[in-house]
């Protein structure tokens, strides 16, 4: 899918990173296929997808650790890689935060952060400034192994910021942190990047993280960029069945195109399409799109109930074996095995034909 035009924020529209038709193959296997996107200065783009989808390779192409087979990379208005040119990583001014942080084990925290800087007094002050920025003031003398995982990650971030990168690249930076720590750290890092005004590209396999961090989210699958857009757009208007499914908890029910609506097991969905009447389609349903009322006449059976604290997630079986999930407030407690009447809560639902939105 081609790049979409990105939203322009308050007239601040300088492009920090422009990738055109990035293509990369390892031997016979094409791992990045015609990927294009732009990142505006100061924006955060998150590339998300299942493992092996090519997101990390895309990042490494931008950084210059891999050579392009086609397309071009432009950083801060300068082409750094295309068919003829290849600027080595050290000339690109891209900061990189690695998945396992890649802290130099033989150097102290201060020496790590100051690795790209000189030994002058100003540079030493800069190191301390960077450490304060990431919340590790006065820790310059420590050795990396004395730090926790979260602290190592912050050192890695400070080190990458030391070169005042045109683009900061972060490869699964939170995946080595435990779950409780991760939530807090994500928000902190986002706030920090916004405060510094850094342009950043994250790579993650976690959709929740993508929605939370990104000004823009790009969903990748099998080396292709399926869709790129604001988190809300990606979530509410997925362009492909894969995107809808990947962004979580989505079930699909079959439907059939009618003249002015789509017929589904849950009733008619008002929708005009250009597809011929009778075309089979799929409707994406998240648990909060569906509601039900206990009804002895109802056609659906409640087959399970899962308590998540704030809500209950009910699984209901419709005639024909179709299963839908419905999210209900925690005070709505209905016994498993009861029959119910199921209906749409919202009618603004993504509809797919052959995997593409209609």
């Amino acid at each position: 899918m081609a790049a979409q035009s990105i939203e322009i924020e308050s007239g601040y529209n300088r492009i920090a990173l422009r990738c055109r038709s990035l293509t990369k193959a390892f031997g016979q296997r094409t791992v990045v296929h015609d990927v294009s996107f732009n990142v505006a200065a100061g924006d955060i783009l998150v590339l998300v997808g299942p493992s092996g989808c090519g997101k990390t390779t895309t990042l490494r192409l931008v950084a210059g650790f891999e050579h392009l087979d086609g397309g071009s990379v432009e950083i801060a208005g300068q082409i750094v890689a295309d068919d003829e040119r290849y600027l080595p990583p050290e000339k690109r001014r891209v900061g990189m935060v690695f998945q396992d942080y890649a802290i130099f084990p033989h150097l102290s925290v201060g020496q790590n952060v100051g690795f790209a800087l000189g030994k002058s007094r100003a540079d030493r002050e800069r190191v301390e400034e960077l450490l304060s920025l990431v919340g590790l003031p006065g820790q310059a003398a420590k050795m990396p192994h004395e730090l926790s995982g979260g602290e190592q990650q912050r050192v890695s971030l400070a080190r990458a910021l030391s070169i005042e990168p045109a683009v900061l690249l972060l490869d699964e930076p939170f995946s080595n942190l435990d779950a409780t720590l991760r939530t807090g750290v994500r928000a902190e890092v986002r706030a920090l990047l916004k405060r510094v005004g850094t342009t950043a590209v994250f790579v993650t396999h976690d959709q929740e993280e993508a929605l939370l961090l990104g000004d823009q989210v790009g969903v990748m699958c099998n080396g292709r960029l399926e869709q790129i857009g604001s988190p809300e757009t990606i979530f509410h208007r997925p362009q492909t069945r894969f995107v809808a499914e990947f962004l979580g908890q989505t079930g699909f029910i079959p439907g059939e195109v009618m003249s002015d609506s789509i017929q589904t097991p849950l009733g008619h969905l008002p929708r005009l399409t250009s597809l011929p009447v009778g075309t089979p389609v799929e409707i994406a349903l998240r648990p909060d799109d569906v509601t039900f009322e206990p009804d002895e006449e109802g056609a659906a059976h409640i087959i399970s109930r899962q308590f998540t604290g704030m809500t209950y997630i009910y699984r209901l079986e419709l005639p024909g074996g179709i299963i839908v999930q419905s999210q209900q407030p925690h005070e709505v407690r209905v016994a498993v095995g009861m029959t119910a009447q199921v209906r749409f809560r919202s009618v603004e639902l993504p509809v797919f034909h052959d995997g593409l939105a209609v």
């Binding site: 050290e90 001014r93 690695f98 396992d100 084990p105 033989h106 690795f115 790209a116 990396p144 690249l169």
Partner: protein, 563 residues
């Protein structure tokens, strides 16, 4: 555990790991019979301490003679020679090993897998064998001169004896001690470290110097320490090449019954080894480099050599040629000559004499095998109590035990042999020149090797597993037998193989302490070489290398299989 880890590993890596282990916190002590372990450890440690202790007592007892010896020019010359040789070999092995390891792990050198294996092989060549082969080929009127004379009219080659020969030979056979640990670090190094340096504005070359080289330093230090100890302890090569380092001079004094002089010089040698060990210990106690990579290791893409491929191939090929092909070729040559010589001299049918001369090796081969196996089993078993105490019950007592057992890594074979000769003659006459005495000396000699290997394998068994066993209601001795021992068995086996291999090659201890008429392959080789029967030395040498390589090959194959 791989061979290279064993070789490089030894006590020093284990020491580093130990520190981390303690910091994680050791909760439970699963072995109730700690009294038994303690007593066993104390016996072992006193057998070790007996050596420097007795030498000290003897040297003090000899009074003025000791002072004279220490002040004599002979001692100072030996000290100078030893320091010179050790320093030169440490330097040259580093210069060979660093580019070698880098080319084999990180570049696109053609055939690097094969080179990687070949480069480690000189380790199985005993120093006296390498020295003998090089002498026979390169001595002023050796084989090469014999070939060159009709062609170029060269009547003498420059002398190989003395410092140049000793330096050359020891460098060629001991560089794997540096090459192997350096290669291991390069292989395990997280490629994202170099990428991080690149993203911070450094060129590949700068990143190499700023990141790779500092990371190699601990491995380089540990390897160089092994090389230094190897040089200090070497007896065979320096004796054959007539370079007067301590081991050679001490042996000469011993042969002319100047035992007090030998004891005083042995003490100086021990002190020298002790200083080197201490320096290394101090350089490592900073406790840095705790981990090299945390997360998923991605294979780095090899650096393209381009036109540098040819000089690189030449360099690696030259080292392998000199360290491996030449000795192997020389050995084959002499072996072949030996077969034909017998036929010519004795005027017997070739088959009969070959069988006869080879059959005569059966006894020494069997002796070598038995005594080395005995040494391996004894050392591995006696090292175990100390290792268990050190790993599973850290504390002041076990720490001290561990320190004391390190003493033996500063004791060259000739020193141990000398001390036990004195002790045998003066206090334990019935044990003098018996197999048990020889085995005890071997045990003292190989103890640090065994403890190092055992410790790293014992530390890989989490204490949690033992706790799980005990939580299931089993006694600790039962847990040790059913859980710990099966898990460390591969490590113990690998350690035993290394001790076996070293014992097969061990020369001075065997020469001095073996019972009269107890001929081993090493002794057989040695007596033939010293009498310049180069051809006759070939067959036992070949057998020695084969016998000692078989178990090594077996566990290497097993390692490869497991990986």
């Amino acid at each position: 555990m791989s061979i290279s880890e064993l070789v490089s590993g030894g006590i020093w890596n284990a020491q580093r790991a130990q520190r981390r282990y303690i910091s994680i916190g050791q909760r439970r002590w699963p072995f109730p019979s700690s009294i038994f372990l303690l007593i066993a450890s104390l016996i072992v440690v006193s057998l070790v301490l007996l050596v420097p202790g007795y030498l000290l007592v003897r040297a003090i007892g000899a009074g003025s003679e000791t002072v004279q010896t220490l002040a004599s020019s002979r001692t100072w010359a030996a000290l100078g020679n030893t320091v010179l040789l050790t320093g030169a070999v440490v330097l040259s092995t580093a210069i060979i090993s660093l580019p070698m390891a880098w080319l084999i792990t990180s570049s696109d050198l053609p055939g690097r897998r094969v080179w990687g294996v070949l480069a480690a092989l000189p380790l199985v060549i005993p120093s006296y064998v390498a020295a003998y082969l090089y002498i026979s080929l390169l001595s002023p009127r050796g084989v090469i001169q014999g070939w060159l004379e009709p062609l170029l009219g060269i009547e003498r080659l420059p002398s190989i004896y003395g410092f140049p020969g000793a330096w050359f030979v020891l460098t060629l056979i001991s560089y794997p001690f540096v090459y192997l640990p350096v290669r291991a670090v390069l292989q395990r190094m997280d490629p994202s470290l170099l990428e991080a340096a690149r993203s911070l504005g450094y060129s590949p070359r700068q990143a190499f110097w700023r990141v790779t080289v500092p990371l190699l330093r601990p491995a380089l230090t540990a390897g160089s320490l092994l090389v230094a100890l190897y040089c200090l302890r070497d007896f065979g090569a320096v004796s054959l090449l007539r370079f007067g380092t301590f081991t050679r001079v001490i042996y000469n004094r011993y042969q002319v019954y100047r035992l007090n002089e030998a004891a005083a010089m042995a003490l100086v040698l021990v002190a020298l080894a002790g200083i080197i060990l201490y320096l290394d210990h101090r350089s490592q106690s900073k406790g840095r480099y705790a981990r090299l990579s945390a997360g998923s290791a991605r294979a780095a893409s090899p650096v393209r050599l381009g036109v540098w491929k040819w000089p690189a191939l030449f360099f690696v090929g030259l080292v392998v040629f000199l360290a491996l092909v030449v000795p192997a070729g020389g050995l084959s040559y002499w072996f072949w000559r030996g077969l034909n010589q017998d036929w010519a001299v004795r005027d017997l049918g070739p088959t009969q004499s070959n069988v006869a001369s080879l059959a005569a090796l059966a006894r020494p081969a069997w002796n070598s095998f038995v005594v080395s196996l005995g040494a391996a089993v004894l050392t591995i078993s006696l090292a175990l109590p100390i290792t268990i105490l050190v790993v599973r019950k850290p504390g002041r007592v076990s720490h001290t035990l561990e320190r004391l057992s390190y003493v033996s890594s500063a004791l060259p074979g000739i020193v141990i042999a000398l001390a036990y000769v004195f002790i045998g003659v003066n206090f334990a006459r019935p044990l003098y020149q018996t197999l048990p005495m020889l085995l005890i000396a071997y045990m003292v000699l190989f103890l640090p090797q065994a403890i190092g290997a055992e410790r790293s394998s014992l530390m890989q068994v989490p204490a949690k597993l033992e706790e799980a066993g005990r939580s299931l209601g089993k006694r600790s001795s039962h847990v040790f037998r059913r859980v710990t021992l099966p898990l460390v068995r591969p490590g113990l086996l690998a350690a035993a193989v290394m001790v076996f291999l070293t014992a097969m090659k061990e020369l001075p201890t065997t020469l001095i302490l073996s019972p009269i008429g107890f001929n081993t392959l090493a002794v057989q080789v040695w007596s033939n070489i010293t009498e310049a029967f180069f051809a006759r030395a070939a067959a036992p040498t070949l057998l020695l290398i084969l016998l000692s390589s078989v178990p090594l090959a077996l566990i290497t194959l097993r390692d490869g299989h497991n990986n």
